[in-house]
């Protein structure tokens, strides 16, 4: 065949030096197999012994090996790989004569067993004689060039691609939590659905996304990212926190006993002045708390203790909840009726907090002028850093290098910190993944925020062209799935029998069962090789490959394989890695400690900065604000750079006129009926979805909750579900066969189930021994006319495969194949969520998803 290396050679004339280089290159062949080494192994009768080596990266390869036909999407990905290889490079197609958009192959061989034996000499010849040619052409297929251009454009916009309103994550910067100046400890306030005037950037402002509490703390008002844009145009409805019925808190027991220096000085004395540098003083004595009649009967030392309940420094101690601050029957009706307020937005005038006698009604908010909402006073914790307040001329911290400005649109990690997430793809040609499988991931640092197996990049795409002749079905199905050809062939034969055989006897014969079990062994071993690659164990991979080839060639040694399996089971640390905690409870504790720590710090800053009216004197100790383990009420100050924000606040009378805290109509405050302390605990669970997910997900590859019903095969059996179609086959029943199960439902138990299944299959084959005889001579008489349905189930190495077809007038009219990998692909998301990347890859690997079984 014509070999020009037009797209693979370097430019130039051959000379002595180049010939020498070319010869060396031809002896050092580096193959990049597409779709993957696991597919290549199927066509190899032994491991590559020095004649070439496989590489994980096309940049190192000089031979691109395309194995078998593939659909156009995958061919395009292969073209990308080819374009990334350095010259001189050789393109080998095994099977198809041409694959668009790849160039014409330099070497073409038929897809058959040991095709490399014929391909490699041809590749060497190509490299040694044609590594340099006069007129090579740059490889730039239109599809690839367009894609690169598009990707380049995306890069330009990449900063607009941040994800707003990510489900579980709080919304960035706008922290309503710091109502410390107010003492309203807005527990459970869902400040969602603020109809802010300046929501310019709030796409997807998802009310549900308000993170009520992080993993450990209670009500974390983590209202991030709200660009409240406090413009003057806001309406004045104010906070409608009305539905807060924190009912059953017994009494308003603030128990401020410890608060020695709780210098609230909520008096008019906090005279205004310029309020520069310190928020102690407000422009106007906005919240004239001097007249507050909080009337907390038990509070002798604190006159105005309602203010500045900085909740929850003790996030760790959940049991202590509410020991201090009992918002008994607080009806936090932040009605903001705005009576008498001209412009001041934040009218707490009608705060009927429902604290018995704790009526804020006398807050004299009326004097708020344009600067009404001096954030000293009612510091509702608006995290103003980086918010575009629309104050003419005042640049509130969105300045150069402001972390708040830079991170305000970023998605939130589970710990509430904004991070840039990266989109990463593993596969289709990743050495640690089954060849052809593509995982798309969003990574938050090294944690997987989201992952899914690509369903658009399917197998050889042969299902699109179903043969008309039902007799061709076995060959056709065999070709569809290179990973389990025998099983698929048997499946087609069973379905044919089910339809054509008069007796309707489509049960497996012993011979067929042995074939199936043999394929199960090789399939599991091939999977083990990929799994070991992902795991990073070269020894396990090489051994798995060695045994794979032996069993494939029918010279497998049961004892040696059993020895190998025993050694895997005894591998130090492996069990721990695959089944033990990734985030152990200690880790979570640490987490909460940290959060509490940060909280503390910020809290202090509140004291200093944010209470102009209330003016918390900096007391030496922090105790004053410790209202005792209100973990339920924790405002997650941790993640909000308050220090920074408040710096920006200095002296700015934020004209929060018409603070649109109003229209909190959708505030799901109703949901927070705190009917008791227990309820708080409950509450936490409700709102801490991802906290509990974390707990569940701490095991590598564990599937949280129940496995979906459609999961079959080793993955189901590793979760203790005895789901196996072999139980219904007479051959297996006679042999007294029972499925192998494990109770872990994690990567380790899946490994164990597969290893045990290998041994079980070996025993089954041994027992069958000579009884199995030769292939049954049952001839299937396929009539040329006929109508009806055929159906067959078979337990493939990955689970139950079902084939249904409909035959109309002797022709195959319809065919439906149900494969286990489709269901397994659905597990990718739950097993990877919040896992470290390496663990996530192992978890996905442990599922043994075959891309050849996924068809769009």
């Amino acid at each position: 065949m014509e070999t020009t290396m037009r797209y693979g050679a370097r430019k130039g004339k051959m000379n002595f030096f180049r010939r020498w280089m070319a010869k060396s290159a031809s002896r050092e062949l580096c193959l990049f197999p597409v779709p993957g080494p696991d597919i290549l192994r199927i066509y190899q009768s032994g491991p590559l012994n020095g004649e070439a080596r496989l590489t994980a990266n096309p940049r190192e390869a000089n031979v691109l090996l395309i194995i078998g036909d593939m659909n156009p999407d995958m061919a395009e990905q292969a073209a990308i790989v080819y374009a990334q290889m350095p010259r001189p490079r050789v393109l080998v197609l095994a099977g198809p004569k041409h694959l668009d958009p790849l160039p014409h192959p330099d070497v073409h061989v038929a897809l058959e067993k040991d095709f490399l034996q014929t391909a490699l000499p041809a590749v060497r010849e190509c490299l040694s004689s044609l590594a340099w040619i006069d007129e090579p052409e740059p490889y730039q297929p239109e599809a690839l060039v367009n894609e690169i251009e598009e990707a380049g454009k995306q890069q330009g916009h990449m900063h607009h691609h941040h994800h707003h309103g990510h489900g579980d994550h709080g919304h960035g910067d706008h922290d309503h939590s710091q109502h410390s100046g107010h003492g309203h400890s807005h527990e459970g306030h869902d400040h969602s659905a603020h109809s802010h005037a300046d929501h310019g950037e709030h796409e997807g402002h998802d009310p549900s996304a308000h993170q009520h509490g992080n993993a450990e703390e209670g009500h974390n008002h983590d209202h991030g990212n709200h660009d409240h844009g406090h413009l003057s145009g806001h309406k004045k409805e104010g906070h409608d926190h009305s539905a807060h019925t924190h009912s059953a808190h017994e009494g308003h027991d603030h128990s401020h006993e410890d608060h020695k220096n709780h210098g609230h000085s909520h008096s008019g004395e906090a005279e205004a002045g310029e309020s520069k540098g310190c928020h102690r003083a407000s422009d106007k004595p906005g919240h004239d708390h001097g007249t507050h009649d909080h009337d907390h009967p038990q509070h002798t030392k604190h006159q105005l203790e309602g203010h500045s309940h900085s909740h929850g420094q003790q996030s760790g101690e959940k049991k202590d909840s509410h020991s201090g601050h009992d918002h008994g029957a607080h009806h936090h009706d932040h009605g903001h009726e705005q009576e008498g307020h001209e412009l001041s937005g934040h009218q707490h005038g009608e705060h009927s907090h429902g604290h018995e006698g704790h009526s804020h009604e006398e807050h004299d908010h009326s004097q708020h002028e344009e600067h009404g909402h001096e954030h000293g006073g009612h510091d509702h914790g608006h995290n103003h850093g980086g918010h575009d307040h629309g104050h003419g001329g005042h640049d509130h911290g969105s300045g150069f290098m402001s972390m708040i400005a830079m991170t305000k649109d970023l998605p939130r990690s589970t710990d509430g910190l904004p991070m840039e997430w990266s989109d990463v793809q593993f596969g289709p040609f990743h050495p640690g993944m089954p060849g052809g499988l593509r995982l798309s991931m969003k990574l938050d640092g090294d944690t997987v925020a989201e992952a899914e197996a690509d369903q658009e990049l399917p197998s050889r795409n042969l299902l699109a062209s179903i043969p008309e002749d039902p007799a061709a079905l076995p060959e056709y199905l065999e070709a569809i799935n290179p990973m389990a050809p025998v099983t698929y062939r048997l499946l087609a034969q069973k379905a044919q029998l089910n339809f054509f055989d008069e007796a309707g006897n489509s049960a497996l014969t012993l011979y067929e069962a042995v074939l199936l079990e043999k394929e199960r062994i090789t399939s599991h071993l091939n999977w083990l090789a990929v799994f070991a690659t992902a795991l990073g164990s070269g020894w396990m991979r090489d051994q798995a490959i060695k045994h794979y080839h032996r069993f494939q060639n029918g010279i497998g040694n049961m004892e040696q394989l059993s020895g190998f399996i025993r050694r895997i089971k005894k591998m130090p640390y492996l069990k721990l890695k695959l089944s033990a905690a990734v985030h152990n409870p200690g880790g979570t504790e640490k987490h909460s400690e940290e959060a509490a720590g940060t909280h503390k710090d910020h809290h202090h800053e509140h004291n200093a900065d944010s209470h102009s009216g209330h003016c918390h004197e900096e007391s030496g100790e922090q105790k004053p604000h410790d209202h005792g383990g209100h973990e339920g009420h924790e405002h997650d100050h941790g993640a909000h750079g308050h220090g920074e924000e408040h710096d920006h606040h200095e002296g700015h009378g934020h004209s929060h006129e018409g603070h649109q805290h109003g229209e909190h109509d959708h505030h799901s405050h109703e949901m927070h009926q705190h009917t008791g302390h227990e309820t708080h605990d409950h509450h936490e669970h409700v709102h801490h979805d991802h906290a509990s997910k974390d707990e569940k997900n701490k095991v590598t590859g564990a599937v949280p909750g129940q496995l979906p019903d459609d999961i079959t095969g080793p993955v189901a059996r590793a979760a203790g579900i005895e789901k196996d179609h072999r139980l219904e086959e007479a051959v297996y029943q006679q042999a007294g066969w029972t499925p192998v199960t494990a109770a872990g439902n994690n990567a380790w138990s899946r490994l164990m189930v597969r290893l045990d299944e290998i041994e079980q299959s070996l025993r089954f084959i041994e027992k069958a021994g000579n009884d199995s005889g030769k292939e049954s001579s049952r001839k299937i008489n396929i009539p040329s006319v006929g109508m009806g349905n055929g159906i067959a189930h078979i337990e493939s190495p990955r689970g139950i495969v079902t084939l249904k077809f409909h035959i109309h007038e002797g022709k195959l009219a319809h065919m439906h194949l149900t494969t286990p990998s489709v269901a397994l692909a659905g597990l990718v998301k739950p097993v990877t969520e919040q896992q470290e990347l390496a663990d996530a890859l192992i978890a996905v690997n442990s599922l043994d998803i075959s891309p050849w079984e996924i068809n769009p």
């Binding site: 052409e137 740059p138 490889y139 830079m406 990266s422 289709p428």
Partner: protein, 120 residues
């Protein structure tokens, strides 16, 4: 060693380095012209186009690792001059360095107890 010999050695090293660079350049020249292909400018990501620069901010939780790195990097910086005088000073130097290392090690243990070496 006489200063002249030292300078000669330095010169020799300079010439060797320059020669190596020149050789590399020659090899590159002799491999022929390169062809401009758009695919080659894109990092390999198992068959996908990955044009985004991998330029991401790190999680603030990594500060612990950064601090640890600094501590042990500094330690190494101190150990070089120590290694030079070690033979002269003898066992005392070993003890001194032992104290220094112990203090650093305490920091490591503290970090450990605080689960600072744990993945966040």
């Amino acid at each position: 060693m006489a200063p002249l010999t030292q300078y000669l050695l330095l010169l020799g090293m300079g010439i060797t380095t320059a020669g190596l660079v020149w050789m590399l350049y020659l090899i590159k020249q002799s491999l022929g012209q390169t062809l401009d292909e758009p695919g080659k400018d894109i990092p390999a990501e198992s068959g996908n186009l990955a044009p985004k620069p991998a330029w991401l901010r790190y999680h603030v939780h990594y500060y612990g690792y950064a601090l640890l790195f600094l501590a042990f990097d500094m330690e190494m910086a101190y150990m070089y001059p120590w290694a030079v005088v070690y033979r002269e000073v003898g066992i005392l130097a070993l003890l001194d360095m032992g104290v220094f290392l112990m203090i650093l090690f305490l920091g490591l243990i503290y970090t450990w107890t605080q689960l600072g070496l744990k993945r966040q």
